[in-house]
Symmetry: C2
Subunit: 459 residues, 2 copies
């Protein structure tokens, strides 16, 4: 098929949307290590997890062997509101860079949640409804995940209880109002509606909250209220399974038009987007059918893959969750206050961590002023104002395209554009004003943080 026949923006037909998710764990020779119950130090089983999570989701979480999971019809019916997402050739960006490389991006931001988070929120809300639950709880920082969950709960008819970090609740009210418009109950955290919240408020009356505290409140609310479970938007194996729809759609579009990516680039925080985008390509690589360079891009201010240690650690700063084996900066690690945008989780998906450890992917870290430069170039050439998170992938793709300019190679570069920056204008303003700065943790910072990683599972 000739290049001319490929549209700039490829939309699959609705009938081509995948009907199964792909579980990359099935093709991994070394499986991701199991979660550990912090009370016993033993691997978490079904019964350890179902008080907190929905039954079907726990089954998905624990299943390392089933390669394909059917996507329920109810989720497919919902998909048509936000899928298929387009695969777009970045022709104007290529021209601006003067590169012989072909750059494609899979754009997941054209929905009201503004990101790929809907792919897992839709599934988690559906399974909660299927189980006959009344509602779900979660935590949210700036509100991207909370918004996706609120939308999905509105669609399936579920209560949605969101604990939002108090400082975001007060200073970033816009996503809060989107959640409320979709019917979610949004509570600033810490709150006096949970024991843990009351305790923290008593100890620190003026606190503006933290993600760790909001997680603890959301979990407590779920386990102490009949008919509620807790849901989470990244890191977990189940989330990567749901997000595989990104990569599967991309693969179908590539195969349909004869596009053969050489390099696949994604931003990485907890790993939900990157894990989803690369899934089917990684599957081919694991099975030895094809080779791809796969590059995770993370912020230099929160460099879990490039500077973290591969160890069992808690998933939250509050240390109430199971332990996961992953690249971690230590559960106490908090990025510098001048870090804008997301990608601020201290660890990385256990699946991606194992794949990185086994040499199936690369990782790079960039400072945020470079990232916003790339974001601005992308906005002006391709017309889409990208999320700061997604802009890490943009910069990763640009760096590879610049190498092609040097070597003359016509490589095909694919990256994931996870979302839009419409709720990140405070960060853009700092960049436009020239006041955005970088900060990289010192080796001493990281050593202090590593020292607090518990011995459990690491002996």
């Amino acid at each position: 098929m000739t290049d001319r026949k490929i549209p700039t923006k490829i939309y699959l037909e609705e009938s081509e949307i995948p009907r199964q998710w792909y579980n990359v764990r099935a093709d991994m020779k070394t499986k991701p290590a199991p979660l550990l119950n912090p009370a016993t130090g033993r691997p978490c089983g079904f019964d350890d997890l179902t008080p907190v999570f929905c039954d079907d989701l726990v089954r998905q979480e624990l299943d390392n062997d089933t390669a394909w999971f059917d996507i329920p019809q109810e989720i497919q019916d919902y998909y048509v509101q936000f899928r298929p997402s387009p695969l777009i050739r970045a022709r104007q960006l290529e021209k601006a860079l003067g590169t012989p490389a072909k750059i494609y991006f899979k754009f997941e931001g054209n929905n009201t949640s503004g990101s790929h988070k809907l792919n897992s929120a839709s599934a988690q809300a559906y399974y909660a409804k299927k189980q006959g639950l009344k509602g779900v709880t979660t935590e949210t920082g700036a509100g991207q995940w909370g918004t996706a969950l609120a939308m999905s709960c509105a669609f399936f008819g579920l209560d949605c209880k969101v604990f939002m970090v108090k400082v975001s609740y007060e200073q970033k009210p816009f996503r809060r109002e989107v959640m409320r418009t979709y019917g979610a109950d949004v509570t600033p955290s810490p709150s006096n509606t949970t024991n843990v919240g009351r305790q923290i408020l008593a100890e620190h009356p003026g606190t503006t909250g933290s993600l760790g505290c909001a997680i603890s409140e959301a979990v407590e609310y779920a386990v102490s209220h009949e008919g509620y479970r807790y849901v989470l938007g990244s890191v977990l194996n189940q989330v990567l399974l749901h997000q595989s729809v990104i990569g599967l759609e991309t693969k179908i579009a590539c195969d349909k038009y004869g596009i053969e990516p050489d390099i696949i680039v994604g931003c990485a925080g907890g790993g939900s987007n990157l894990g989803g985008l690369i899934s089917p390509f990684m599957g081919e690589k694991l099975r030895g059918e094809k080779d791809y360079r796969i590059i995770a891009v993370e912020p230099a201010s929160c460099p879990s893959l490039t500077r973290g240690t591969f160890a069992y650690d808690f998933c939250d700063t509050g240390r109430v969750t199971p332990l996961a084996k992953m690249y971690t900066l230590g559960a106490d690690f908090i990025p510098s206050p001048n870090h804008a945008g997301g990608l601020r989780f201290h660890g990385m998906s256990p699946i991606l961590s194992q794949l990185y450890h086994d040499g199936y992917m690369e990782a790079v870290a960039y400072e945020q002023t470079q990232v916003f430069e790339a974001a601005t170039l992308f906005a002006r050439t391709e017309g889409i104002l990208p999320a700061p998170e997604s802009s890490h992938a943009i910069l990763g793709a640009i760096r590879e395209a610049e190498k092609c300019r040097e070597t003359g190679e016509e490589k095909t570069i694919l990256f994931g554009l996870t979302g839009t920056g419409y709720f990140d204008l405070v960060a853009y303003q700092s960049f436009n004003d020239g006041t955005l700065t970088d900060s990289i943790p010192t080796d001493a910072d990281l050593a202090a943080s590593f020292a607090k990683i518990p011995p459990m599972g690491n002996n």
Copy 2:
């Protein structure tokens, strides 16, 4: 073609995007009245307008006879970044309403400007570049039009000078930052960079500005700087011509899938979206080939069609522009301060005004609390958070669908969803908090405003 084969979200192929704009004036038996030069009282000709506007745009403005204008290749190359836009079946909304009606909407909001405004901004920026100009100037209130223009100027490589009403510049900084990210120079108005700005600042030192003042500054800057022209995002005939791409795409999609709208609904402020959406359908109606009910929906707080008078009036509160014959509330009319969102222009496109006057379309006005109720229902069912402006059309479509529920008629209702509400969360918050109120101008208010309409052209 059976109903089952129609996708929920219809995307045309890129090759199906229209290559010509349609000029509905060519099929109007009574043409819209010409603009009058306020200095002479005589119809504006080419030479009256070219000091302010680009030459090609003036030709389009004055041409009542040419039915089809070729869309330059350069604009088509830009279109692929934001066109085709989807035509979507609102199945979940239909279900929630329990109506036998089929509801379709043409969604123009899936781009960073968040609205249909890019359709004309792209054309106006292109013609400015083609004329060899350095840049363009404009005014903006909340920033929707300014954002679209900034994006288009970045694409074509033009300076973009935006005078933004000072109160919006300070209190609604987010769209300002989008414009700056696209390289626009955004100046709070009134400013000390123009004579009119300095004069107003001297007379009213604490003023927070007005759209009328920002227009005057933008026009002055354009006519007093070599290589600049002024551009405008609504009301003008040329804008409706560019916006005809909305209706043409819709018509192609309808014809492709055998969809036959009975009723077409659009929100109406200056008329750019409604005029664009209905163009080809109105053409068929004018030529007697088909009949459609066409409904303009406007805010009860700014009811130019439903309560205005059809007369020559100034297009701006500053009274520096030509006079246009249109339905007007008087150039001094300002909607009540509790009016949220746009659709706040005192007049209506001369083309739409003439068509309404001649009985080719209907108009209704709704209060904003009803409009936000409709917006919330739409968001929860169809997943898209709509702009307050667009939500007027949603409510119009819902009202017609409810009538079908009463009568059992399976009518096909088409409406224009012009944009998203991501930058309108302050208004949503008022609605969510129950503090949003309505206000309707009294007959005495309007009579006082009508009394100031100048006699010129109205004798």
